[in-house]
Symmetry: C2
Subunit: 208 residues, 2 copies
């Protein structure tokens, strides 16, 4: 379950640069991160970054690609069996959390998000079969909102941490968040009647 993190010394310069970029982009955001700072963290020169990646933009794309490759297996395995497991990427994505959160918020990492939607849609299509009331909206749209909600603790980690009183990357934080999620996911916010009523109100508004 734990991702193997090789000794930085063992990595090629190219890999070290990419990992440093992942960290800098995650901590400071794309604009504020500098390729100089990344080079320094990686222990290489400015010129070598350029040699390997060409441009800052290309470096980011390499980060995205690496993230996708690394996440692919883990992600699919965790998400398909139950929505509960799949809907907690905070704990799963470990060292990439910050980068992914930044990237998503800035509109990047689209393939990652879309794959979460795809998996969620599969899951919903399956569970819809044994659902008494027919859904009002398509599975894909619901999956998209689920994905956004599932990712929100990561994307808004700074704010949540303020309320929880503990860092989300600490064991205590992870445990607490997990317990909150279990409670939230198992208790609907609205009753079916309230939802139906609100939906009817929307229908009335639509006709006018």
């Amino acid at each position: 379950m734990t991702t193997t993190v090789p000794d930085p010394e063992d990595l090629t310069a190219r890999a070290r640069i990419r990992d440093a970029a992942l960290r800098h982009f995650g901590e400071h955001g794309f604009e504020r991160a500098t390729i100089r700072g990344i080079a320094e963290t990686a222990g290489v020169s400015l010129g070598l970054v350029r040699h390997h990646f060409g441009s800052k933009q290309a470096l980011r794309e390499a980060c995205d690609e690496h993230l996708m490759k690394t996440m692919h297996g883990l992600h699919e395995a965790a998400a398909t069996r139950s929505m509960g497991g799949g809907l907690n990427p905070v704990t799963a994505m470990g060292p990439y959390r910050r980068y992914l959160a930044r990237a998503l918020a800035e509109g990047w990492a689209a393939p990652f998000f879309d794959e979460m939607v795809r998996i969620g849609e599969q899951w919903l299509t399956e569970t819809d079969k044994s659902r008494p009331d027919p859904p009002d909206v398509d599975a894909r749209s619901r999956a998209a909102v689920f994905a956004a909600m599932a990712l929100s603790p990561s994307v808004l980690a700074q704010h949540i941490e303020r309320s929880l009183g503990t860092g989300l990357d600490t064991p205590e934080g992870q445990d607490k968040l997990l317990r909150v999620l279990l409670d939230v996911y198992s208790h609907p916010v609205l009753s079916l009647e309230e939802a139906a009523e609100a939906r009817a109100a929307l229908d009335r508004g639509r006709r006018s």
Copy 2:
């Protein structure tokens, strides 16, 4: 319900600058937005921006402050009566949506988030009274996660729009999102049994 948007011509230069900043920060992010661009949109010179706000950072803080002041009443009114209404800030915050989303993702707008938590906590404390099973976690933590989830469609709007196939700022998008939210909020992801079981697993892990 609709916020009155005065004719730009009627506003003082200071207000025009602030509104332009709100738009630029929201569209391009804080780093990428330039005070030159903001000045141009506001129809004033670069120097005047500096005269009124001193620095880019101070301009941002003025934006945050203005947002808080504007949102305060609207927010409280919508959120207190039912979680359903309160949990849909996407439609409520209109022209400030993009700015708020950017600010939150970058770790700003903390007072806004914290107030959402405060209101949610009140609501949860109230509804907890008539809840059969005692909550495993404190109301504040749950409220924080609720707040993050409620804001996620705004923060991750670009991604959701890709799945919905329509812009979230259009009437159709708002309607669709609202219907999705009604469905999602009224159907738990996990059964109480599944949640209890997962919780028990966490407890076992805690002891070891």
